[in-house]
Structures are given as structure tokens and as C-alpha cells.
Amino acid sequence: MASMRDIKRRKTSIQSTQQITKAMKLVSTVKLQRAKTRAERSKAYFNCMYETIKGMIRRTGHIDHPYLIKGTSDKKAVVVITSNRGLAGGYNSNIVRLITGSDLDKKDVLIYAIGKKGRDTLKRRGYTIQEDYSEVINEPLYKDAMEISETLLEAYSKQEIGEIWLAYTGFKNTVSHIPTLIKLLPVDDTEREEYKENNPVGAIDEGILTDSLDGSKPAGSHSHSVGAIMNYEPEETEALELIIPKYVASLIYGALVEAVASENGARMQAMDSATSNAEEMIGTLELQYNRARQGHITQELTEIIGGAEALSS
């Protein structure tokens, strides 16, 4: 049996770890609240944007716009949103696994990394990191998303990349976060390829437009009026040209906001279970310590009595 001092030392060490995990949990709870309100506030915009684009593409039918047909390049740009810090349970590794597990070919993939953890892991696994926007994830702004989408679209129109994908963690609620991989461009209404770990049947609607938490009807409630003949000014192709970049930017921004909420949710959960694990370990060690202490006392007593008996006899 370990000595009393060893057990005590171990217990103190676990106690201080527990204090850290507890503090981290509190911090991420606060951050989660903030990120959640932000994600909810911006949801209206994305619902509306998504509905509009979907409606537009459906109404315009098949037009040969470069944004709607596959580029000639085999390269695929993947925007990977992870966190800059670890200790968030499976948050980062789920995203990495989503990419390594998908049928995107490693040598065709160009990673546009947002988040250091994902960037480093993917780099180690031999993926090409094209750009790194890791500082963005701390406080995502719409302007950042616009910049990223501009870079992507420029490469896309130069035919350097043929497809644009987005990998992020969707925020459904505080405890359920869904790693999601979606194709941004070319917009393809007939066969949207979808990779979802938990929910392979889920349509894109659930990824970007996770159920509006406040229950209010989505801003895109006018979607029933699909039948109406929509006019475009400027005409359709040109309008698409102008609107699609906004669409890409808004999807990236939406993914960023949701990912931040998910990150903090994941960290909160991880830290919560770490705290309760520590609690459990401290309990076990306490028991061991008391037992060792008792054994020690008993032994000492036996020794004294034995000594006294030896003297008196």
C-alpha cells in the first residue's frame, strides 16, 4: 500500500487540478451564453439568405453560371473551423475525423484553416494548408467572413480550386453539437452531398438552420411564395454573380458563430465531467488515506503493546 504521504500528495494535486477545471467550466459557461445569443441573433439573416438563394436557383433553373457548375480544377478548398485552444473534449478531433473520414482525396484538398488545433493536426496528417485565419475564431466578425470568402472566390474564379467545402461544428443546443461538412460551391440543388456524423439523413437545413431555439418562425417564412414570378434587377445571372459572394460570406460567418458556441459548449461539458471525475478520485483517495492512517495507528499500538508485554514478562 502506498504510504500516507504519497496518497496525501496525490490528493492535493488532484484537488488543484479540479480547481482549474472548475474555473474553466465557469468561464466557458459564460462564454457559451454570449456565443449562443450571438448565434441566435444572426440566425434570422441566414435563414433568410438561404431561402432566397434556394428560391433563386430553383426559379432560374439551369443556367451556366460558373458558380453553379463544377470548376475544371480537381482541387478542393476546405474551410476547417476548429478552436485555438484544446481541452474541449472531442470538439477538434471530431472535425479532423470528419475530414479524414470523408471521401475527399488528401492530395486534392487545400485547407483554409480557422483554428490552430485543426490546422496543426491536419498538417501533421499530411494535408496542405493553404491559408490560415486562426486569429479570427476568438472574436469572429462578419468582415472576416467576407475576407475569407473573397479569397476563396478569387481562387475559384481563377480555376485554382474546383469546389469549396466547409467543415464546422453545428450548434443545435447546449449539449448537442454536430460536426458538419457541406459543399458551398458550386451550388448544387439537385444533389447536395452531405456528411453528418450523427444524422446522415439530415438535409442542409439542419446544419445551417438548426432549429430556431426561440421557436419564432424563421425569417424566411415567405418561402411558400415560390410560385410567384420573381424579377431580377440586374438580370438573373448578374444578380447571382453579386449575391453568391454574400451567400458564401454569410454561410462562413454563420458557421463561425455556431462553431464558437459549440466550442464553448464542448469545453463546458468536458470540464464538467473532468470536475466530477476529480471529485470521484478525491473520494477514493480520501478513503485510501484514512485506511492507511488507521493501519498505521493500529500497527503502532501493536508495537507499543508488544514492547510493554516483552518488558513486563
Binding site: M146, H222, E233, P234, A239, K246
Partner: protein, 136 residues
């Protein structure tokens, strides 16, 4: 005041719902020129150019804002503006806008090959729209 000329107007930005309410007329600038929207306009989607947005709530009450980019979707009795960038006059920093205007103008005047003319032009339009909206 319930007005039968009124229609639902909603202006959404990525960060907030900027405006939600009824209006009898909305005026704004699109890439094709200025338009004014009344109730029962034909369904129309158009792309916003930087300019001033006027929301006529009643005959006497008009709200203005600087609408800088986004697009508008008009569907009969409802108008939705998906704005990437829109500001009320009191949110505008006039000094900064003025500075941006000078900078953009300078870049346009230089006409260097490296400058992106389209972008500089847009920046100029944006700053002018901001300054004008703030003056109201």
C-alpha cells in the same frame, strides 16, 4: 395608425434585426439606380448600392439610414432587406467616414496599377453615403 398603404418591412443584418415594422414607402439605391417601393410592388430582387435608405413610416415620419451593401427582396406585401452593412445616422462616425472618403478619393486619383479601382470606387460611395446620412 393603421394605414392600408402600409406593408411589412424587415431589415436584417448578420448581427441583428436592424428594423422591423410597417412602412408606406421605402426608398433606396440599387445597382441599377434609385428605387422607391410602395405596397404591391411586383416581386423583385435587386442588389443594393451604397446610398441612403429612407423609410416612410407615416406621411410625416421618415427614418433615414445609410445602407451600404446587401440585397432587397420584394414580395408583394412584404419587403426584406438583407443588409450586410447598414447604420442609423447616430451610429455613424462622421470623422472616420470623411477620412475614408479622402483616402478613397486619393486612391482613385493615383490610378496606380496596383489599386483595385472597383474597390476604391465602392469605398468612396460608401463613405459618401455615410456622410450624407449623418447630415440628415
Amino acid at each position: 395608425m393603421a394605414d392600408d398603404r402600409a406593408f411589412a418591412l424587415k431589415i436584417i443584418t448578420p448581427d441583428r434585426v436592424f428594423y422591423e415594422g410597417e412602412a408606406i414607402m421605402v426608398e433606396l439605391r440599387t445597382t441599377e439606380g434609385e428605387i422607391g417601393i410602395l405596397k404591391n410592388h411586383i416581386p423583385l430582387t435587386c442588389v443594393v448600392a451604397p446610398g441612403i435608405l429612407r423609410i416612410r413610416e407615416t406621411d410625416t415620419e421618415v427614418k433615414t439610414a445609410a445602407l451600404l451593401s446587401g440585397f432587397v427582396e420584394i414580395l408583394g406585401d412584404s419587403v426584406t432587406i438583407l443588409a450586410e452593412d447598414v447604420e442609423w445616422p447616430d451610429e455613424i462616425d462622421v470623422n472616420r467616414a470623411e477620412e475614408a472618403r479622402v483616402r478613397a478619393q486619393r486612391r482613385l486619383d493615383e490610378k496606380a496599377d496596383t489599386t483595385n479601382m472597383k474597390r476604391a470606387e465602392l469605398a468612396l460611395q460608401r463613405s459618401v453615403a455615410r456622410i450624407e446620412a449623418a447630415k440628415k
